[in-house]
Every structure is written in C-alpha cells, then in structure tokens.
C-alpha cells in the first residue's frame, strides 16, 4: 500500500490561511489503512484545526468527509456541493492530483506521501518499493536496493556498512541483508555477478499505463 503521514498542523494552517470554508477529505483506501485518512482521522484533524484557528483568532470553518478512493473519478463524482472554497485532501499525491483536476477550487495536501510499504506491526510500515519502473527484486532476493539502500546502488554494500548497519545509522544495511538472503536461497551467482547500471529512462518515460493500448515495452 501507499504509506502516508499527516503534515504538521501549523504547515496545514499556513496553506489554508486565506480560505473561509475548508472540506477535509479523507481517502478510505491506503490512507485510511495508514491511519491518516480514515473517518476517525478526518474528525480528529477537523477538531484540531478548529481549535488551532480559534486560538489564533482566525475564522475558518472545517468540515469533514471521506471518499472511498480519491484516485478514481467515479468516487470524486459522489462529492456534493457544500459551499467550500478549498479542499484539504488526506489522499496520497495521486488523490490530490485527481481532485485538483476535477474540481474548480484549490486542493491542498494534508499528508505527505512517503512510500509503497508493507505492514511491520501496529501502525508501523517499512518502505519496500519506490515504483522505479523496472523491478530488480528477482536479482536481490526480494529486498529492494532502490528503496532500502539510501544510495540505491546495485553493487553493495558500500564502505559505510558497520556491524551490518547502514552508514546512516537508522537501518540495517540492505545489501548485507540481500547477501544473507541470497546465500540462504542458494543464489550465490547473484552475489558474485556485477549488476549493470539501472535504466532510469523507464521511470521517466512511463507516464501513463493504458492496458487497452499497451504499446511496446522497451
């Protein structure tokens, strides 16, 4: 799923400062699972924003609603007119973008879209994929070097690894894990083979994917 994180209240207030009536719009798919865009989060955020505005002596009204998926037009069409002059979207970047395209008032992002991740426990997600457009997981025992190695290198580990920890000090070294897992899987040739530089053009050139007109994949 897409993992997201709510922006700080002050940053949100700054964005919507010039508006009078704002609809906070949750997204009931990834965002809700990431505990940032479901019904409960929308209500809590509305309450917090009301409190913060009144403390500042401002007068902005905040209402809340939740769409099933902000990245699909049919769900956006369900939105009812409510006299709002701005949306605060709690959907990922795709949700914000589609809302902006379909609606004629400004849409602001209330969350930051972090990564495609997997659940690692209660309210805890690990970054697993950055949608690079050319998956190499088959060569790296299912551990993504693009996402989990901060350098995104293809022939690791780098000299920064220390006791299996990454030089950034906040995570295990992805490449040590890749080597260990490849050994466990008996895929030793993947350890000794040099991986070619990645093709970044895939990410740049794939800007739309229309299954009815697949075209040619490079």
């Amino acid at each position: 799923m897409i993992v997201v994180r709510q922006k700080p209240i002050d940053d949100i207030l700054e964005m919507v400062a010039r508006h009078k009536r704002v609809l906070i719009l949750g997204c009931n798919t990834c965002s809700a699972v990431a505990l940032a865009g479901g019904e409960k989060e929308v209500e809590t955020l509305a309450e917090l924003l009301r409190l913060a505005t009144s403390r500042k002596g401002a007068s902005i009204e905040f209402e809340g609603a939740v769409l099933q998926r902000q990245c699909e037009p049919e769900f956006i069409e369900e939105l009812e007119e409510g006299g709002f002059d701005a949306f605060l979207s709690l959907g990922c970047g795709a949700g914000v973008a589609l809302l902006s395209e379909k609606e004629d008032i400004p849409v602001y992002p209330g969350i930051d879209t972090l990564f495609i991740g997997a659940s690692k426990g209660l309210a805890n997600w690990q970054a697993e994929c950055s949608a690079c457009g050319e998956c190499v997981l088959g060569e790296t025992a299912g551990i993504c070097p693009v996402t989990r190695c901060p350098k995104g290198i293809m022939n690791g580990p780098c000299g920064g690894v220390s006791d299996g920890q990454c030089e950034l000090g906040d995570r295990d070294c992805a490449w040590v894990q890749i080597h260990e897992r490849l050994e466990e899987l008996g895929q030793d040739e993947c350890i000794t083979e040099t991986h070619e530089p990645r093709d970044h053009s895939t990410k740049t050139l794939v800007r739309e994917w229309d299954m009815s007109e697949p075209g040619e994949r490079k």
Partner: protein, 288 residues
C-alpha cells in the same frame, strides 16, 4: 614519481592525501604537498570528502600537477550522474591526470549539505567499468572517443569489515572490473591484515595498507565507535593511554605496523586527516 612508476620499479609505494580547500585559496594545500614532496609517490586528492563541499577535485589535481606533484584523482559517485562522471574522467585525463581512485562516496545526509540530492547513478564497481570502457575508446552510450585516456585505476577495500563476506565479494567484483590497486580502510592489527593479504595475493592487484595515525586514546576509541570498518586493538589504546606523548606513540605504533607488514604488501596509504606533518615522522619511524 607516481604510483604506477613505484609499482613498475618494484618499490614499496607510499601515498598520502590532501584535501582541497573550502574556497579558492589553494596555498595551504600546496604547502602541504610541498612538505610531503620527495617522501611520497603520490597524493590522493579527496572528492568532497565525507560529503563536505570543497573546491573541485580536478582543479586541485591540476594545481598540484602544475607544482610538480603526482595526484591520485579520487572520484565519488555521490555528486554526478554517469554523464558528469565520464566528462570529469576525460577532463582530468586531458590534463594528464590518469591515476584514479574509484569510490562510491558517503551519503549527503552525513555531510554539510544534508538536504542535497544524492546521485549514486553508478557506484564504485560500475565506475570501474566506466573507466575501463573509456580506456577502451568509447563512452557508456557506445560513442567512439576522439582520444581515449590511459587510466591507472584503484579502489578501496575494508579488510576488517563486519560482516566480511559481502566485502570480499565486492572486492572480487572490483578486481574483475579492472581495479589495479587497492587502498585499504585504516588497519591496525598486523596479524589480521596479513591474513587479508594472504587472501588478496590470489589476485593480480597491488595493495596499499591504509593508515591513520592514532593521536590519542580518545581518538582511537572514537574511531572504533564511529568509523565503519576500523578496529584499533585494545593493546594500542592502552599504549596510547599510558603514554606521556601519545602523538609520538601513535607515530611509533604506525611505524612499527609498517615494518611488520612491509614484506607482505605493496605499499602504504597514509590518511593524515589534518595532521600531514606527521607523515614524514611516520615514514622515519618505519625506516622508509
């Protein structure tokens, strides 16, 4: 002198390093280089070392060369994509700067511009491949070069890395990708270094033992804790602790290490990190 020449003549090679300034005044860097002249075969010129912004490495190499020194051009993959790296390698070679040390480079997050984009389009192994491609007369896109460089290229290895297996797998990739010489991360334990040399001797590469003079017990402990792949043995820390002149003790310890490994490796690379004046003293202590 140069590393290439030292190896060709079968001499025990000595290299050290200088860091370009944060600004345009290169006088201090040149003074340091002059002070080391005649005592070292080559000087590594660092490349925004530790992700801290400095004057361009190529410019610094040119200054050094114009003053009669032999630079080793350190190239990291942090700040340039494959176009930038190839351009710079060709640019350096056009000035006769052909001794290159290929590095991945520290992440920008650990440096002084942590908000910068980290590039890492290639890393050390792919950079070595790139150097080989250029030397073969074409670029990575297959375009033919007008005038192709003859590089003498090296890489780094961490003999005390933990875990060691991935490190050695990468070392072997670097050998296959054309690394002719290696500089090691700082080593202190002669026995463990000699074990590494026994392994490295299977390959047709020259190895320079990396040295950092421990100037105090505090510095040694700091390195153990904070610098990946460095292990200063307790015996040395105790020696430094007990000493009335820890700097001299550090110089002696380093000199002793060189004497112990001299017959088993091809040279030393002394990383002075701000204490270049100690380099001649270390060489004296080692009888070099």
């Amino acid at each position: 002198m140069s590393l290439r020449a030292a190896f060709a003549e079968g001499r025990f090679a000595v290299s050290s390093e200088v860091g370009p300034p944060t600004g345009t005044d290169v006088s201090e860097m040149l003074e340091t280089a002059d002070m080391l002249h005649g005592r070292v075969d080559a000087l590594n010129v660092t490349d925004n070392q530790a992700a801290v912004m400095r004057l361009s490495t190529i410019a610094a190499c040119i200054h050094l060369k114009q003053h009669g020194h032999d630079p080793v051009f350190q190239v990291t993959c942090r700040d340039r994509n494959r176009l930038g790296l190839q351009s710079d390698l060709l640019g350096a070679a056009s000035f006769g700067i052909t001794e290159v040390l290929a590095l991945t480079g520290d992440h920008v997050v650990v440096g002084d511009h942590p908000e910068a984009a980290a590039v890492f389009d290639l890393e050390s192994v792919q950079l070595l491949d790139t150097v080989a491609t250029l030397a073969d007369g074409s670029d990575l896109a297959g375009n033919e070069l007008t005038g192709s460089p003859e590089f003498f290229v090296g890489a780094v290895v961490t003999p005390d890395a933990n875990p060691i297996r991935p490190q050695l797998a990468k070392f072997e990739k670097k050998v296959r990708s054309g690394a002719r010489f290696f500089q090691t991360q700082a080593v202190y334990d002669a026995e463990s270094f000699l074990r590494f040399m026994e392994y490295a001797r299977q390959f047709d590469v020259r190895v320079l033992a990396g040295l950092v003079v421990p100037r105090s017990a505090r510095m040694a402990r700091f390195m153990n804790k904070n610098i990946p792949g460095i292990t200063v043995p307790n015996a040395i820390i105790e020696e430094l602790d007990a000493s009335e002149d820890p700097v001299q003790t550090g110089v002696d310890v380093t000199g002793r290490f060189i004497r112990e490994v001299r017959e088993h490796c091809d040279g030393v690379h002394i990383m002075a990190i701000g204490a270049e004046h100690l380099v001649p003293r270390v060489l004296d202590a080692a009888g070099l």
